[in-house]
Symmetry: C2
Subunit: 372 residues, 2 copies
């Protein structure tokens, strides 16, 4: 029996069409070289830039390619904090570690974490004080799929004169994302979360927003991301963005239909499982908490049965600390440790979902029998 | 007639064997995931780490994978400056922009640039003052191929209590590199300069050397380089390092033989060309200065004839400023602008070299006829 991969929020399978587009570029010229080999590489990057810009409703010249979203978040946040000399930053308590830890590590920066409700949605304050220089609110949460009120935060940030960043890694390629409608100044996204390759991310920088680069070198990516471009990965990102944009409606419908299948089967098989469903959410993600079994044990049991899922965020899976996202939603340490994330990708089928729930029921009941 | 690529110091063609090893990993799991898909990706990264470590005589656990050498240099230099609170750094005037500009951009850091002789070799000072916290000397220069006395600088750095970094991008895979013999604390290298893919570099960090990370996120690469690993590129780096180590002697002999062919043909056809040959050099690189024609015009003329070469460093090719390396060697602005770099790769043939020189003679004579 083929394995079933349901950990799309950690990374997605590479779309075979994206792979085909990447292959000719694996050994190409240096895009900074003025000779033919360099110029064709430069052209390929420019075409990819158009595709990524189209996915988020932006102008191509405002898109900066990076090696991934963690780096894009760092360029955005440290770049804005340093350029503005910001002394205070505002974010939510459920940001990805690449946002939260990066802000918390800045010497002398006062970081205010906005609390969230039980569904994981950030509680909008009435206003932001003018001492806030940078605001960062993720568009969709990686652990729960909750969609945050980013445009509302962007309005508050504008009123306070702060730079507004959104980590849109889990939203781009899954729901419509439009930088103008969001009203943000900066937006980060990643290829490998939308069936593109690892090794390519992007930061959108609204014209006129000042960022101090993390480090220097050549004048690549307007000086904001020096270093020889990974042309093949960037070409793959462009292709993935194009396919994601074309398939956005179909993906959404598929996930909404499969959500019904998943949740009905789960409620029938394991009725005491808590499912963290935000009112507005990405329908590919299920965050589950069991009353009495460890998430880690469930993950390993499912792995043995041929199913790949996650506990907490992908980046901290295997780490000792239970999810800061679930803790911020009010779960105790025990609850956070008894949680599992199932996340579907663009090709997840009804059979994948029903087989996964059946395995989940077997594994959880098996663990209960062992312990009880 | 097939094009002849002689710009290997900008980027090398991907070795077909490296490509084959990469392909299975283009769409793999996230190496931080504890399930099977994640574990096999982690194992692939660990095997690559062994291969890169072997190339530089290091322990695998001391190798940190990055997205490229520009980033590796930044992690080394900014990491060491910040961890040590260094107020003064020492480097050569011919460092790559990713070293020189990164150091010069640190607020409050006094950067002392060591002069070089006419062949581009750094002039070793008698001692370094104890106020120097960080020293950075490249192992081989990207524009001239000159090999620098890194182990001598490392001794001075040790005496002064400074952290010693070497940018070994143009040396690794071309000559023997051994971190113990060099006596350095930090070493940066890159896959795509040794017939590996773009998108993977490495920083070797001697055990016990403290570095402050550029930014935070997951605990990837011991926290020094957070972000989902580009598994395919890292696997390709490992393969390229393995093939480079096995082929080191053969590459060297090939380049030494082809150097004789190149220089004899050049002296016969264009006897007034200055060739910048350091006493100890990487034999793949020729830095040429013509008395009367612009390097840019020669590059474009060769490009039209089917040959890819460079002016100045790859990263600043196309930029307005003439090479800071040639200027530091005593060439005037005119001389630096009348220069071209030809750099051979592991598969460059005698026919490539003789055809290139013949084209060079035609192009230079043609330009002279036009202007005179």
């Amino acid at each position: 029996m083929a394995r079933v991969y349901l950990d799309a929020n950690a990374t997605t399978p590479l779309d075979p069409r994206v792979r085909e587009e990447m292959l000719p570029w694996l050994g190409c010229g240096n895009a900074s070289s003025p000779h033919l080999e360099g110029r064709v590489a430069r052209d390929a990057i420019d075409r990819a830039r158009d595709s990524v810009a189209a996915l988020i409703g932006a102008a191509a010249k405002e898109v900066v390619f990076t090696s991934g979203a963690t780096e894009a978040n760092a360029i955005a946040l440290l770049g804005a904090v340093r350029a503005a000399g910001a002394r205070r930053a505002y974010c939510t308590a459920v940001e990805h570690p690449s946002v939260l830890r990066t802000l918390l590590a800045v010497p002398g920066l006062d970081v205010v974490e906005c609390p969230v409700d039980a569904a994981g949605v950030a509680l909008l304050p009435e206003a932001l004080t003018e001492s806030v220089g940078v605001v960062s609110v993720m568009l969709a949460n990686n652990e729960t799929g909750s969609v945050q009120p980013v445009s509302d935060f962007a309005r508050l940030a504008r009123d306070a004169g702060a730079v507004m960043h959104t980590d849109a890694v889990q939203a781009c390629g899954k729901i419509e994302v439009d930088v103008a409608k969001l009203g943000v100044d900066l937006l980060a996204c990643s290829a490998h979360k939308m069936h593109g390759p690892k090794g390519a991310g992007a930061l959108w920088v609204r014209s006129g927003v000042e960022l101090a680069p993390l480090y220097s070198g050549g004048e690549h990516e307007r000086g904001l991301r020096p270093g020889t471009e990974n042309v093949a990965a960037i070409v793959g990102f462009g292709a993935a963005a194009r396919f994601a944009l074309a398939g956005l409606g179909a993906r959404r419908t598929r996930w909404e239909n499969l959500s019904v299948v998943f949740l009905e089967a789960l409620r029938a098989g394991l009725p005491d499982t808590a499912v963290h469903l935000a009112p507005v959410r990405i329908a590919n993600t299920f965050s589950l908490t069991f009353p009495d079994v460890e998430g880690e044990a469930v993950l390993l049991g499912l792995d043995l049965e041929g199913f790949a899922v996650a506990t907490g965020s992908a980046c901290s899976s295997g780490a000792a600390e239970p999810s800061h996202v679930l803790r911020a939603m009010g779960l105790g340490r025990d609850g956070a440790e008894r949680s599992v994330r199932v996340s579907m990708h663009a090709d997840t089928s009804a059979s994948d979902v029903t087989r996964c729930v059946a395995a989940l029921v077997r594994v959880v009941k098996g663990l209960r029998a062992l312990s009880g």
